[in-house]
Amino acid sequence: MAKTPIGLEPVIGSLTSSKKREYRVTNRLQEGKRPLYAVVFNFIDSRYFNVFATVGGNRVTVYQCLEGGVIAVLQSYVDEDKDESFYTVSWACNVDGTPFVVAGGINGIIRVIDASNEKIHKSFVGHGDSVNEIRTQPLKPSLIVSASKDESVRLWNVHTGICILIFAGAGGHRNEVLSVDFHPSDIYRIASCGMDNTVKIWSMKEFWTYVEKSFTWTDLPSKFPTKYVQFPVFLASIHSNYVDCNRWLGDFILSKSVDNEIVLWEPKMKEQSPGEGTVDILQKYPVPECDIWFIKFSYDFHYNSVAIGNREGKIFVWEVQSSPPVLIARLSHAQSKSPIRQTAMSFDGSTILSCCEDGTIWRWDAVPAN
């Protein structure tokens, strides 16, 4: 990495906790023995804001957070293939609003589960290798993107079961893609990152007709003219190691590698020459003992705070949009020692869930101010 020039230094957050909010463990579940790789709240449908899903091994489980730290199991799904190991899960829905749980993992098959009928809706076969992350388009929750070890990112329509676009090829990733995210307001834009140490921003503006077509497609999904998007509109080399999580924060991007920090940066694109541009690193959020890969962070609904676990079972909650960044809280528990693969923040950030390598789910609740 080149030395940051004077005048463009990032603002680095201080690790002294502001103790703005206090969290306490209110529940701890042992789901199974296999590691849990993902946990996510449903932000798609306000009925289910307190419903979350986890994946681990060949299992997808749906829970509900209740008052007083209680967690209820609502549904549990098991893949018949014992070798399946789900890595990621996301909430989506049909065009009429039927809630779907979408999960993917080592087999490379994306499972779309109809949660309101408790049965499989569709299985997407196409990825040539494991699926590392699935995300849902918040404005059109029938669209999902998946990041895979096969070096591609794919856009799917869960309603019709169509693979609309494949983001790979000449300008694509050169190794596993580990993370992908939809821009919150620019519906055409996604960002992906992976083992080739880069973050790439893609635009599907020119291909939007295909996206629209996918909603009205009545023929077999396999006959849909899937398109390749071969060139990203922006490429950022910010990290010097695997980039395992990236999320948009408005027009900025929050990404992390294995360097014990999350980086907030702004992609500055050159309109005339796509693929080129500069990166302005704005802020850094230190996260100690976070030097292993496949640790993902999460926001609350309003992007006020971000929570991330580390290798030793601790959680760091940052006020993400303040400058300089403020550490809201540092959560630790004597028994939480296993690496935390992902966290989930509830709608208002008052509840934080963490899923761990040892198969446990921890629930932390904010202690009321008074």
Binding site: P5, I6, G7, L8, V11, Q30, E31, G32, S46, R47, F49, V51, R59, T61, Q64, I71, A72, V73, Q75, S76, Y77, V78, D79, E80, D81, G97, N107, G108, A115, N117, E118, I120, H127, G128, D129, P138, L139, S148, D150, E151, A168, G169, G171, R174, N175, P184, M195, S240, Y242, G250, D251, F252, V258, L282, W293, F301, H302, Q321, S323, P324
Partner: protein
Amino acid sequence: MDDDDNNDAGEWLSEKTRFKMAQVEEKTVSSKEILSVIDSLKKQVAADRSLSVKKRLEENSKKLGGITNHLYTLSNERRSSWIGDTDSASDLLTKRQKDALGMQNGIDLSNGDDDGYSYQEPSTAVLMGSSIPVKNAVRPIKLTEVKKLPPYTTWIFLDRNQRMTEDQSVVGRRRIYYDQNGGEALICSDSEEEVIEEDEEKKEFFESEDFILRMTIKEACLSDPVLESLAQCLSRSPAEVKARYETLMKEKDVEASKNRDIEAQNWNSFLEKDLEAALDSFDNLFCRRCLVFDCRLHGCSQDLIFPADKQNPWNHPDEENAPCGPHCYRLVLKSERNDTVRSPMNPEDKSNSSSDGVGAQISSKKSARRKAKSSQSESASSNTRNLSESSDSEIRPGHEESSPTPQLSPSKNKIAGKSGILKRNSKRVAERVLICMCKRQKKMTASESDSLASGCVSPTDMKLRSNPRKQSEDATSSSHKDVKSSNTGRYRKKDWTLKGVQGEVPPNETVNDLALTSSNDFSIREEFVDENLGKQELSDDNSWKAIEKGLFEKGVEIFGRNSCLIARNLLNGLKTCWEVFQYMTGADNKLAYHAASGVLSLLEGCSKYDLNGAMGSNEVRRRSRFLRRRGRVRRLKYTWKSTAYHSIRKRITERKDQPCRQYNPCSCQTACGKQCSCLLNGTCCEKYCGCPKSCKNRFRGCHCAKSQCRSRQCPCFAADRECDPDVCRNCWVSCGDGTASLGVPPQRGDNYECRNMKLLLKQQQRVLLGRSEVSGWGAFLKNNVGKHEYLGEYTGELISHREADKRGKIYDRENSSFLFNLNDQFVLDAYRKGDKLKFANHSPEPNCYAKVIMVAGDHRVGIFAKERINAGEELFYDYRYEPDRAPAWARKPEASGSKKEDGAPWSGRAKKLA
């Protein structure tokens, strides 16, 4: 950085400075003070930075607020649409939710029972509050198994090979390899090889750095210690800092006038751009081998090779007589002629009278000319003729015959030598100059007669030629633009003019075989027409823009001197046919004068200056372009070293141990000698070379007739080459025999066709991709094929051996490699780009074989059937790994079954650890 902040800071600082200046008059400021100044500035910058970050985050946050509110509304809409739905009871998720809530309330009410899960019923929610594993507490819903695909990396289909682009190189890049079985990450590079070539790029100065620079110097004056401490602070050299400061100061002054300049420039740039500049991009982007723009195989910055053999200009016999439109020169000429036939005082009349065909007049003039020919001018013309002979390719044999035996004169040798040097210098320059010479020489013969004829007839000519020296200088400056016109075309044109005017066609004057002697006769008459027309034209010249002139030149190259075609095809909407004709004839006359004066000066011994001038300017202009191009061409210097060759690659070693040699067209303009790059490289010359067809190093193709080029008796086949319709005598592609309608292929029985052009014509079999019976993916055949049938091409990215070594290391770890040795320079990599045949598996007893074949100058890999293969059979071929490098599954002894993917246990990514 915010501008306002900067300005504020600047004001604040300058005030401070003034204060200081008043206090301390002395110019030298101690280093401590300098440092403190810099420090304070740095702090200022840092504060500005954090302020601006804060500002931007706030702005972003505002936007985000709106976005999340919108999303929240959406999520509420989803809810309400469901609540409105009467069917909501059928939503199991909602039901479970309610159950759970009810249960919790029940618990709360019962107020004692803390074991929620004791309430459990099948298929309702379970409350969890303890450490009993969830998986045991609920009955899971089964997701039926779906068969997964064999693993593959997303790849792009290629129907022809592509050269790797630079940004896809893995050389010099760190790649961390994650071993999914061991759970460890390895940095996949050799420390000594991996010298990270961090280009010492000139780092740009950022705005903030400029600010510090400016303010510090403003405050502490420009002195060495100041520069030094600044350099230290900005981690640059003092010289750099100083240079930057100077440019900053300049920028300030320039800034104001800049904007106006830019505007003016934009306005002019289009009009002043000449065709050369425009064609530069054409030269760079158009591939002359594939005849496409932006060719991905040969790259867009390949060396330009121009063939020594020139094509005759395009001619269209049908259009000779018909006027091309209302502004056709034929119509105009005709009308003018009609107007002026009876007015002897009109200068046009001269031409008319002469062209009206008074035979006696012509013949007398002719004889007069011959008699009066001075020995001086004769030697001059022979001079130039000889000169053009030495630059062989340009002159047609018929023409040479008609020229008199050359008489050597001292000055000629010099010029000939000069042109020789130029030829070597750059083919392009040479080409231009040759054309020039040729033209000049033609003109000279013309002008000779012209001068003789006009000497007695037209006094205006004398006037025009009164200042030969000046003319010659003009010629030098403009020759490379105006000289462009091909001689054959010129004479032909005159023919047409005559035909159009007189309706009388001499029988032996067919378009191209115009004997010089006869054309001389006409040229006498024609010169008058030309001159007279030209005179009024000369002043109009200025109205021709550079781009139009350039287009005209190209037009003459393509169509000959046919104003109709030029106007219609190249200057449509810009110039009419008549205008083009005028310009053309005007240019001719000018040339005639220039040439004549050239002769004079040549005789005076000044020719050297004259020609040098012309050539010199030409050379400089072209050279710069050449240098530019050369800079962009990436030359592959990698040499073939079998020892440095590690990774597993598919190879072909059946006949040769030596790899094929990559062909690169040579740029020889004469028959290839020892310097020929093809000869040095050990390849044959091909049709893409610059050398003439007579080159001894050319591969001459085959003459096979009935054998259909299917055996080693065919020289092409024997040399592992496909036949080339351009080269081989009897190998051609037809759309029928001419009698049948177009597009109907010839019948197989009676009309033999070459069977050695399958790659070129893409006559491949349908290959299907499926699950292999052996391992992973496999390639299958859709139809039955016979022995030695061509199945398809193995396409991929062309990468260097160095790159292949690097990539191979990564592929070897994954135990699946799509590398294929192509020749001494390139390896094919089908990992990310290729076609379905890349999935054909290895077998020691294969049913196919691969063969590297030269197709139109490129090496390509064809897959052929080794035996008869039935539809639906899986394809295998022997990868021919080097024995000691072959992976375990490809080694011969235990090769009971073929396996490409070593059955790597899919136990999974046990741990995701760095």
